[in-house]
């Protein structure tokens, strides 16, 4: 077993290094490392077909409980999390349909019009919209559209778009932490540990809402000079600005995409009551979107980000290697040891460690790795798994905001700004994002300590 453990760790570390260096595309990295895990760790060292079978987890898809469960039972923390993959694929197809119909641009332009194109109200409105949309839609898509519209409005209204884009990125990550489907780590945590949309919303959602208020104030005071300067500029002829209705490419498709989106939101909000799993919801919205946009099926399918889905599959196998060889139990024991059995300290370590790690490495592999760890901690320490799960979700989601490379939304937002001639360096980004991240993490820690005090003593 020792050789298997060493090999599993070596493959895992090599995967992380290769992902960071970007020499090879990340889905090839995780799939290659996944194959090595199956062949070397499970095959050569452990000679265990059971480990391979459990990690591939294909049999799970053919069970009724994978699609419709009485209560969210939790897929299992081991192996490929197919529910996450199917749900993300479904959301990708739905979002492509919405984008094609012009929904996101219409929403941004409508909101800008509602606040009369005034810079400060626009700044606050876009932060709120970024948070709210990211609760249901992947933050990359939200930022892709929001940042593009922000740059466009900045050119027309003559303001500096960088403060607004940094705030939008932060709020997208914060909004993503509020729900089960907001950020990939949450989907993995929710499906692995059996939490529902409502569980997330009433726990991380409440904390994210409090943090959002604090963040709006923080960014307002942080950027007020830039914003005030912009507001003082000459008057703009509002009539010359693009009308929201111009963003709608096809009215019929627009209506369909809004209905599908609202149906997806309702299904997600009520899935604990209806018993529909996120895999089912993902599959349904994908099929309905494809039917509604049947003329554009090839185009929509082509736009699905298969690389990310393959990245997930390889990643789950590599993490499965660490799990099957009990390496993650050793990590859990180590965390318990340094916390000396102090539950408050244990939660704080999970929160801040997740945040620090997610600020510098991709938060998805980190969350996937930590789920078996918190499961093990919960079993040995007796601490309710939900408290650890919320700490992990908040830490990974919020920590990613601290640096330009911490989360996918940051990379996309910074890139959209830079492509339009507004490069954002590390210094400029971190000057505002790190204090905001620390403020939000302190709010998270205090909220967790107060709200779950009965579990923590």
């Amino acid at each position: 077993m020792l050789i298997a453990q060493i090999l599993a760790v070596v493959i895992f570390v090599a995967m992380f290094v290769l992902i960071i260096t970007e020499k090879i595309e990340r889905h090839f990295v995780t799939l290659g490392c996944g194959v090595l895990t199956l062949v070397l760790v499970f095959g050569a060292c452990m000679q265990s077909w059971d480990a391979i079978w459990e990690t591939l987890n294909v049999q799970n898809i053919f069970t009724p409980s994978f699609w419709i469960a009485a209560g969210e039972a939790g897929e299992s923390t081991s192996g490929i999390n197919w529910a996450t993959i199917i749900f993300i694929a479904g959301m990708m197809i739905m979002v492509e349909g919405m984008a094609k119909a012009g929904f996101f641009r219409w929403l941004c332009m409508t909101l800008a019009k509602l606040v009369h194109y005034k810079v400060i109200p626009l700044f606050i409105a876009f932060m709120i919209m970024s948070s709210v949309l990211s609760m249901f839609i992947d933050s990359i898509t939200v930022i892709l559209f929001l940042a593009a519209v922000t740059v466009e409005l900045a050119q027309m209204l003559k303001f500096n778009p960088i403060p607004m884009i940094i705030s939008e990125i932060f709020c997208a990550n914060l909004g993503g932490s509020a729900t089960m489907c907001g950020d990939p780590p949450n989907i993995i945590i929710g499906t692995s540990l059996g939490f529902s949309f409502a569980d997330f919303f009433t726990n991380t959602g409440v904390i994210a809402a409090i943090a959002l208020v604090a963040v709006i104030f923080f960014f307002f005071f942080s950027f007020r000079k830039d914003l005030m300067k912009s507001s003082a500029e000459e008057k703009i002829d509002i009539a010359s600005l693009p009308k929201p209705s111009e963003a709608i490419v096809n009215k019929k498709e627009f209506v369909f995409s809004v209905i599908i989106f609202l149906a997806a939101v309702i299904m997600l909000v009520t899935h604990a009551e209806t018993g529909l799993t996120v895999a089912f919801i993902g599959a349904v919205i994908a099929v309905v979107t494809l039917l509604a946009f049947w003329r554009d099926i090839p185009e929509l399918l082509k736009k699905v980000d298969y690389k990310t889905l393959l990245f997930f599959i390889g990643l789950f196998i590599v993490v499965g290697g660490l799990e099957q060889t009990h390496v993650l139990e050793l990590v859990a024991s180590f965390i318990e040891m340094i916390s000396g059995g102090n539950l408050l300290l244990m939660v704080a370590i999970i929160l801040w460690l997740s945040a620090a790690a997610s600020a510098v490495v991709d938060n998805i592999p980190f969350a996937a790795t930590m789920i078996p760890v918190i499961n093990s901690i919960s079993q040995t320490s007796g601490l309710d798994i939900s408290v650890l799960a919320w700490s992990l979700a908040l830490g990974t989601d919020i920590g990613g905001s601290a640096t330009p490379i911490g989360a996918s939304a940051n990379v996309v937002g910074i890139s959209v700004a830079a492509k339009q001639g507004h490069p954002i360096g590390w210094g400029q980004y971190c000057k505002h994002a790190i204090p905001a991240t620390v403020i939000v993490l302190v709010i998270c820690m205090v909220s967790i300590f107060i709200r779950y005090s009965s579990h923590l003593v």
Binding site: E22, P404, S415, A418, G421, H422, P423
Partner: protein, 201 residues
């Protein structure tokens, strides 16, 4: 109608490549694009060009940047691609021009009108030239030459198919120390004239 002519000049630091590019631009009456590309881009987009200059011809820091779905967080990447797109647009529009650096021999390789030159020089004469031009001591100039060569090489090799200064990827590689900057320019011009003649046959 005259055929398109795009002269791409790549150069080692201190080899006189910039002067040669300017002389060629005057000789053929063509606009020259170097750092001023960023000024043009800034004018088009109503930006402050100074914010773009610090990322000009620099290599991305791989540890401090990430790429997601083809979007890069590296300002160096984005400024580089902004310039590449600008040059491609110019080339597509049929415009003839001289371009200094910016991996032009690689990004414009599909245009028939391209002629790519790499100007090198003996290290000693490049150091002497830098000392005179920038009023530096020998050691300061030596370190400046080494630093800029390293940056240019890293930048070029990051965005181009071929290696910086590898003769297989240029139409002509020439050492400006042998006959001096002016005669080197004349030699290059002769080569360009012959290409124009051959193209018009």
């Amino acid at each position: 109608m005259e055929k398109q002519l795009i002269i791409s000049i790549s150069r080692e630091f201190g080899s006189g490549g910039h002067v040669i590019a300017r002389m060629l631009s005057e000789r053929y009456g063509l606009p020259m694009y170097d750092r001023n590309l960023l000024e043009e881009i800034s004018k088009q987009k109503c930006l402050d060009s100074n914010t773009l200059y610090k990322y000009d011809e620099a290599k991305r820091n791989k540890l401090l940047s990430r790429t997601v779905r083809g979007y890069s967080s590296s300002p160096e990447d984005n400024v580089a691609y902004m310039q590449f797109d600008f040059l491609k647009e110019k080339a597509k529009s049929g415009e003839s021009f001289v371009v200094l650096g910016r991996c032009a021999e690689s990004i414009l390789k599909d245009f028939d009108g391209l002629i790519s030159i790499f100007v090198t020089g003996d290290l000693e004469s490049r150091i002497r030239r830098t000392m005179e031009r920038e009023n530096l001591t020998y050691d300061q100039a030596k370190s400046k030459v080494a630093k800029h060569d390293k940056t240019r090489k890293a930048y070029h090799n990051n965005y181009s198919e071929g290696k910086w200064g590898d003769s297989r990827f240029y139409d002509m590689c020439i050492n400006s120390s042998v006959v001096g900057v002016e005669d080197t320019c004349a030699t290059i011009a002769d080569f360009i004239d012959r290409k124009i003649k051959a193209d018009n046959k």
